[in-house]
C-alpha cells in the first residue's frame, strides 16, 4: 500500500515533467534533430583520406621521361593535377594563394641524368599548414617517386618486380578496417549526448523549479525527496535513451557501422553512464541557485571531458595535470568502454577496471548529491 502511493506520487511528478518538456517544442525538436545533424556532418566532413589534393608540376625537362613521371602521379587518386606552371615564381604564387598544396619540380637535366644511369633528383614542395595532411602527402609523394624509380631500374635490367628483393608491408587494420571516421564518431556522439541530456536537462529542471519558486509548492505536497528526484530524472533518462538509440540506429543502418561486442553489455554501459551523468546533474542542482549558474557548472565538466577524454580528438600524450583531470571525468571511462564494445568487440575481461572506476564515481556523486538534496529541501 505504502509502495503503491509512493509510486503514484512519483508518477505524478513524471507526468508533470513530460508536460513541461512537451510545452517547449523548440527545445525538444533541437534535442532530437541535433544528433542527426551532428552525425551527418561528422560522417561526411571528417574524412582525412588523401584524395584529389590539388597539385602542380613544373616540368623543366619536357622529355618523354619526365612525362612518364608525371603520369605516375596522375594515376594515383591522391592528387589532381591542376596546373602546369612555367616558372618557379608561378609555382610559389599558386602555393601562396592556396590553389595547390603540392608542387613537383622536375629539373632540366632529369632525362639526361636517367640516361646516364645516375639518380635523377626531383624536388617537391608541400604545403605543411595542415600537418596531418602534410605528413601523408609527404609519404605518398615520396613513395610514388621511389616506385617509379624502381620501375626504371627494372626496365633497364629487364627484371620484374616479383624478382626483386624488398619488403612488403602487409597492413591489417583492425576494429575499423576502412579507417572509417563514422565508426569513431558514433560512440563519441552517443557519449556527448547522453551526458548533455542527463546532466544538463535534469539540473535545469530542478533548478528551474527553485528559480520559479515552485519548489516550495512541491515541498508542501506529500512528495518525498527521493520520489521527487526519481520523478524529475525519469523523463530525461527516457529522452536520453531514445536519442542514444536514434544515434545508434542511424550509425548502423545509414552508415553501416557494425557492433562487434555484446549488445547487452553496451546497454549496461550506457545505463551506468547515464546514471553517473544524472548524479552529476543532481549535484549541480544542489549547488546552483539559478539556471544560468547550473549551465555554467555543467559546461565546466562538459567541455574538459569532451576535450580530454579522447572522445573526439586523438590523445596520445597529455601534460600530467591534465591527465589527472581526465582521470576524474566519467566520459574518459565511458569512451574506452563504448569503443571497446562497439569497435573492438572486447568484453568484461578487459573493461572491468573502467567499469569499476565509473561505478565508484557514480555512487560517490549519488551519495553526496542525495545527502545535500534532502537538506536543501527541508
Amino acid at each position: 500500500m505504502e509502495l503503491m502511493t509512493s509510486l503514484e506520487r512519483t508518477w505524478a511528478i513524471i507526468r508533470k515533467e513530460f508536460i513541461h518538456a512537451g510545452r517547449d517544442p523548440r527545445t525538444l525538436v533541437i534535442t532530437i534533430v541535433m544528433p542527426i545533424l551532428l552525425l551527418m556532418l561528422l560522417g561526411y566532413t571528417t574524412s582525412l583520406d588523401i584524395e584529389g589534393v590539388p597539385m602542380a608540376i613544373y616540368d623543366q625537362s619536357k622529355s618523354a621521361e619526365s612525362r612518364r613521371l608525371i603520369e605516375a602521379y596522375q594515376v594515383t587518386d591522391s592528387f589532381t593535377l591542376n596546373y602546369s606552371p612555367q616558372s618557379y615564381s608561378d609555382l610559389r604564387r599558386l602555393m601562396d594563394s592556396g590553389q595547390i598544396q603540392v608542387g613537383l619540380i622536375i629539373p632540366p637535366e632529369y632525362a639526361s641524368e636517367l640516361a646516364a644511369g645516375r639518380t635523377a633528383r626531383v624536388s617537391c614542395v608541400i604545403d605543411g599548414s595542415n600537418p596531418t595532411i602534410g605528413s601523408q602527402v609527404l609519404a605518398i609523394v615520396t613513395m610514388v617517386g621511389q616506385s617509379h624509380g624502381i620501375q626504371i631500374i627494372q626496365e633497364k635490367l629487364g627484371v620484374s618486380v616479383a624478382q626483386l628483393p624488398g619488403i612488403d608491408a602487409r597492413m591489417r587494420v583492425w576494429y575499423n578496417p576502412k579507417l572509417d571516421n563514422i565508426n569513431f564518431m558514433v560512440p563519441a556522439i552517443i557519449g556527448m549526448i547522453l551526458q548533455m541530456t542527463c546532466s544538463a536537462l535534469t539540473a535545469g529542471a530542478i533548478v528551474g523549479e527553485r528559480e520559479r519558486g515552485t519548489m516550495e509548492q512541491l515541498n508542501v505536497t506529500p512528495i518525498r525527496s527521493l520520489e521527487l528526484i526519481v520523478g524529475k530524472a525519469v523523463p530525461y533518462l527516457v529522452i536520453a535513451t531514445l536519442i542514444g538509440a536514434e544515434i545508434l540506429i542511424i550509425g548502423v543502418f545509414w552508415f553501416g557501422m557494425e557492433i562487434h561486442g555484446s549488445m547487452a553489455l553496451l546497454i549496461g554501459f550506457c545505463i551506468l553512464f547515464m546514471l553517473t551523468s544524472l548524479a552529476w546533474g543532481l549535484f549541480v542542482s544542489v549547488i546552483a541557485k539559478t539556471r544560468q549558474q547550473a549551465q555554467m557548472l555543467n559546461m565546466l565538466i562538459m567541455l574538459p571531458s569532451q576535450m580530454l577524454s579522447g572522445m573526439m580528438f586523438p590523445i596520445l600524450s597529455l601534460p600530467v595535470v591534465l591527465q589527472y583531470l581526465a582521470a576524474l571525468m566519467p566520459l574518459t571511462y565511458f569512451t574506452r568502454m563504448i569503443r571497446g564494445v562497439i569497435l573492438k568487440g572486447v568484453g568484461l575481461e578487459i573493461l572491468w577496471s573502467d567499469i569499476g572506476v565509473l561505478a565508484v564515481i557514480c555512487i560517490v556523486l549519488m551519495v553526496v548529491a542525495g545527502a545535500r538534496f534532502k537538506k536543501t529541501l527541508e
Binding site: 523548440r26 551532428l38 556532418l41 566532413t45 574524412s47 582525412l48 583520406d49 588523401i50 584524395e51 584529389g52 589534393v53 602555393m95 601562396d96 592556396g98 636517367l114 645516375r118 635523377a120 633528383r121 624536388s123 617537391c124 604545403d127 599548414s129 600537418p131 596531418t132 595532411i133 609519404a139 609523394v141 615520396t142 621511389q146 617509379h148 624509380g149 626504371i152 633497364k156 635490367l157 624478382q163 626483386l164 628483393p165 624488398g166 619488403i167 612488403d168 608491408a169 602487409r170 597492413m171 591489417r172 587494420v173 583492425w174 576494429y175 575499423n176 572509417d180 576535450m307 580530454l308 580528438f313 586523438p314 596520445l316 600524450s317 597529455l318 569503443r339 573492438k344 572486447v346 578487459i350
Partner: protein
C-alpha cells in the same frame, strides 16, 4: 541619427557591462580556458604513437628495420614482445595502436633476394591516428625496400632511379598547433561575438525593457548602433586576448604582418555582426538564441576546413562551405600567420566575407525593424 541620444544608450550599455562583472569575467576567462584545453588536445601532434615490435627474426637485418621505427618520432616503441598473441592482447587493451610482426625468415628471405612480408596490425578505431601510422609505416617499409634493391643491384648499376626530395613549406616541422591555433582564434571569436550581441539584445527583450526603450524618442538605428557598439568593443578585446594568448602561449610564429592580422580579425568581426543581430532578431529568448548559435557554430566548424580538409568532402558540402564565413577567414588568417603572404593573395576571400556581411546586415536590419514596429 542624433549623437546625444546615441551617447545616452551607449552609456547605459556600458553601465550594464560594468555592473555585470560575472559576464565580463566569463567573457575574458572562458576563451582562455577553451584555448588552453584545446591547445593540448585538438592540437596535440600525432607523434609518439605507441607501438609494439615482435621481431621473430632477431637478426642484424631485422634490427636495422626496427631501428627505422626507433629513429622517427612518429612512433614510440613501448613494448618488445616475443609472440604474435601478445601483440593482439596489447591492441585489445588499447596499450598500443600498432603492432609490427617481423617473420622468422626475414633475413634469410631478403638474403635470397626475394620479397618478404612484414605484418602490421593497426588499431583503426581512431582513423586520424590510423592514417598517420599507416602512411608512416608504409613509407619506412618502402624506403627499406629501395635500400635493399639498391644494395643488391649496386654492382650492376651505380645509382639510377628517381629521388624525390620533399620540402615542407609554411610549417616545416608539421606542428599541429601552427595549424589549429589560428583556426581556433576564428572559431572562438565568432562564438563569443555572437553570444555577446545576442545577450545584449535578447535579454532586453526578455526582461520586457525593450518596450520601454521603444517608447523613448530613440530611433531604431540609434538603438541598434548604441546597443551593439560596446559589445563590438568587448568582442574586439576578447579577440585580441585570444590572438595574443593563443599565438604566444603555443609559440605560433607569425610570418606576416601583425597589423594585417589585426585588420583581418576586425574585418571578420564586422562581417559576423549582421549575423549576430539577425539571430537576436529571430530568437525569442536568450536560451533559444544560444541554441541557434550552437546550431550554426557546429556546421561552420566542420564545413570550414578548420580541422578536416575540404578537398576530401563531397562536392555539395564543399559548395556549402563557401557560404560559411569561417571558411574564408580560415584561409585569410592562415595566409598571414603561416604563409606570411600579403593581402593580394586573399582577394576572393575578402570579397566573400564582404558579401556575407552586407547581405546578413541587410536581412538583420529588415527583421529588426519589423520586430520594433
Amino acid at each position: 541619427m542624433n549623437l546625444r541620444r546615441l551617447w545616452a544608450i551607449l552609456r547605459k550599455e556600458f553601465i550594464h557591462i560594468v555592473r555585470d562583472t560575472r559576464t565580463v569575467t566569463i567573457v575574458f576567462i572562458m576563451p582562455l580556458i577553451q584555448m588552453i584545453l584545446m591547445g593540448y588536445t585538438v592540437l596535440s601532434d600525432i607523434k609518439n604513437i605507441p607501438i609494439a615490435i615482435c621481431d621473430l627474426s632477431q637478426s642484424v637485418t631485422s634490427r636495422d628495420f626496427v631501428a627505422a621505427f626507433r629513429t622517427t618520432d612518429v612512433f614510440d616503441i613501448r613494448y618488445t614482445v616475443s609472440n604474435e598473441r601478445e601483440v593482439v592482447h596489447l591492441l585489445d587493451e588499447g596499450e598500443i595502436r600498432m603492432g609490427v610482426v617481423i617473420p622468422p625468415d626475414y633475413a634469410e628471405t631478403l638474403a635470397r633476394g626475394e620479397r618478404v612480408q612484414v605484418a602490421f596490425y593497426l588499431d583503426g578505431t581512431d582513423p586520424m591516428v590510423g592514417q598517420v601510422a599507416m602512411s608512416s609505416a608504409e613509407l619506412i617499409a618502402q624506403s627499406k625496400s629501395t635500400e635493399v634493391v639498391r644494395r643488391s643491384l649496386g654492382r650492376a648499376l651505380s645509382g639510377g632511379g628517381v629521388e624525390v626530395r620533399p620540402r615542407v613549406w609554411y610549417n616545416p616541422d608539421l606542428t599541429q598547433a601552427n595549424f589549429t591555433i589560428p583556426a581556433m582564434v576564428g572559431m572562438v571569436m565568432q562564438s563569443f561575438m555572437t553570444q555577446l550581441v545576442v545577450g545584449a539584445i535578447v535579454r532586453e527583450r526578455e526582461m520586457g525593457t525593450m518596450e520601454q526603450l521603444i517608447a523613448t524618442p530613440l530611433r531604431g538605428l540609434e538603438l541598434m548602433v548604441g546597443k551593439i557598439t560596446p559589445y563590438i568593443g568587448l568582442a574586439g578585446l576578447t579577440a585580441l586576448e585570444i590572438l595574443v594568448a593563443g599565438l604566444f602561449w603555443f609559440g605560433v610564429p607569425i610570418k606576416g604582418s601583425f597589423l594585417l592580422l589585426i585588420l583581418y580579425c576586425l574585418f571578420f568581426l564586422a562581417a559576423m555582426l549582421g549575423w549576430a543581430v539577425l539571430i537576436s532578431a529571430v530568437a525569442r529568448t536568450e536560451q533559444e538564441a544560444r541554441m541557434m548559435n550552437l546550431f550554426i557554430m557546429l556546421p561552420s566548424m566542420f564545413l570550414s576546413g578548420m580541422f578536416f580538409p575540404r578537398t576530401s568532402m563531397p562536392p555539395f558540402l564543399q559548395a556549402a562551405g563557401e557560404v560559411v564565413p569561417l571558411t574564408h577567414f580560415m584561409i585569410m588568417i592562415r595566409a598571414v600567420v603561416l604563409k606570411g603572404v600579403g593581402i593580394d593573395m586573399v582577394v576572393p576571400q575578402i570579397v566573400g566575407l564582404t558579401v556575407f556581411g552586407v547581405v546578413s546586415m541587410l536581412l538583420a536590419a529588415r527583421s529588426f525593424r519589423h520586430k520594433l514596429t
